[in-house]
């Protein structure tokens, strides 16, 4: 287990934040960690699953930080699954 500092933003929020995760965290856990610093603080909560986007790819919830190869200070976007351009 290693602590990996990520840069992350929740779509609908306004700022990029520092979010520490474990390299063994799944994308579901990463999404929760990022959401904790945006949802119900500045983003209205929704009953909707969340997804993690890394290098323009939507990752699967079971993917892990280490497995995908997300490194220190890499950027992830977290969003509700119904958000699209």
């Amino acid at each position: 287990m290693a602590l990996i500092p990520l840069t992350a933003a929740f779509r609908g929020d306004f700022v990029v934040q520092l979010i520490p995760v474990e390299d063994t965290d799944t994308m579901e856990e990463v999404a929760e960690k990022v959401a904790a610093h945006a949802v119900d603080l500045r983003v209205a909560p929704k009953r909707m699953p969340m997804e993690v986007v890394f290098k323009e790819k939507i990752l699967s919830p079971e993917d892990t930080v280490k497995g995908v190869g997300i490194g220190p200070m890499d950027f992830v976007e977290v969003r509700y699954a119904d958000e699209y351009e």
Binding site: P5, T7, A9, R11, G12, D13, F14, V15, V16, Q17, L18, I19, A36, H37, D40, L41, R42, V43, A44, E56, M73, F75, E77, E85
Partner: protein, 501 residues
Amino acid sequence: MPRLSRSDYYDLTRDMNWHLKYVPYEEAFPKEQAGDGGGIPLDEWWKWDEPYKLTYREYMQNQADKDTMSYSVKSAISRSHLFDQVDAGWKSAIAAHYGAIAIPEYQASFGEARMARFGRAAAWRNMATFGTLDETRHGQIQLFFPHELLEKNPQFDWAHKTFHTNEWGAIAARHLFDDMFTANDALSTAIQLTFTFETGFTNLQFLGMAADAMHVGDVEFGALISSIQTDEARHSQQGEPTLKILVKNGMKDKAQHLVDVMFWRSWRIFCLLTGLSMDYYTPLEHRSMSFKEFMEEWIIKQFMDQFRDLGMKAPWYWEIFLDELNWYHHGLHLGVWFWRPTVWWNPDAGVSPAERAWLETKYPGWNDTWGRRWDVITKHARKGEIEQTLPQTLPIICNICQIPIITPSNPKRQHDLGPYTVDYNGRRYLFCSEPCKWIFEQNPSRYAGHKTVVDRFLAGEIQPPTLEGALAYMGNPQEVGGQDAENFAWALAAPTLAAAR
């Protein structure tokens, strides 16, 4: 003893140039201090000509009169209770102003003094000598005035303290001003400080805020900063003659580059200080114009007219800048308010229903974007859930402007919320925008050694590595500031628009 009339002696004292005979010119005017003159011949430099000329005797008389005026206004006001009655948000605006500005003014005297020694024309050195005295005045007077307010509010101690701390706003200001004048050669300083920053942007804070101050009833502050700006109007005139000589002698590209770098950096810091003060802290009924309207008048119209008259172009990122006028400072305001324990003043949320209606008229669409975020905050504030309106982590900070990264910057990039990145010598640098990234890439060795507060946190320099540790690292601004200016009274007003929809 007969005395010469002013017209007989003036140019002799103002513009005495000579060819050096005893030392090589390059030794007396080394590039590191004087700047790279690009081989422009000395007799071209000696055509340097400022529009508004004055003698040392006139300077002393004028400045004494100005100080007499400013100090007598101050004296009259301090005998009244005028300051006690001034709006809480306004007090925040001036506490922020003093902390961000007072010591940098003094440091600007170093930049002026460098031009007074290493400017390549005597008339320029003469004007810079007055500039050195001006900036010394500005440092002193903007420390003395808040010092007298200390017994009313300990935040005014930060007029002096800020620049001696690692508070993130202090780091942003130091980084900017070191780049602009404290650690800059004389030629670059003339273009970047006196032309770009002073002819363009400082009018926003010092004249725009003076107008708001008079409306608010803060006569002392309004008189103070208008007086300061009369000095600025004089010493900022070093910029144009210097620019003209560069343009005339084949160095237009260098001049353009210097302006492009510092216009963007100035924009960033003005959004932080003036954007918040004008659109959120100044009481609604006293806002003479919005920040965007001030920018349109003072920068887009007046400054750019002058700039184009000199044969220069708008900076390459102009479309990005124009887009940001609509939203960027709103992001800074939300960030400063949410992370309010990190600042030495009490941010005024500025989002009562009436204020939100004003914001909507000045920035159509505000309620649909920023308003939605403030709706969530308002909901918690109304329920007294203040902990939900405070941060639990750090924002990522740009490696150039030292300001948190608001998403997204380029309007053509709305789909991508991530920072701009550069990998340089094995280290990753993060930026808020294309122009900040470009500034780094133009001269990486100048900036690469510096660490943002977040870099320092990750490197273990902030102990303990907690929010409390970070606040202590920043000088504990929350001990004097960091509260909502109105103690959430705005949240208890009429229902939010969301509830009404």
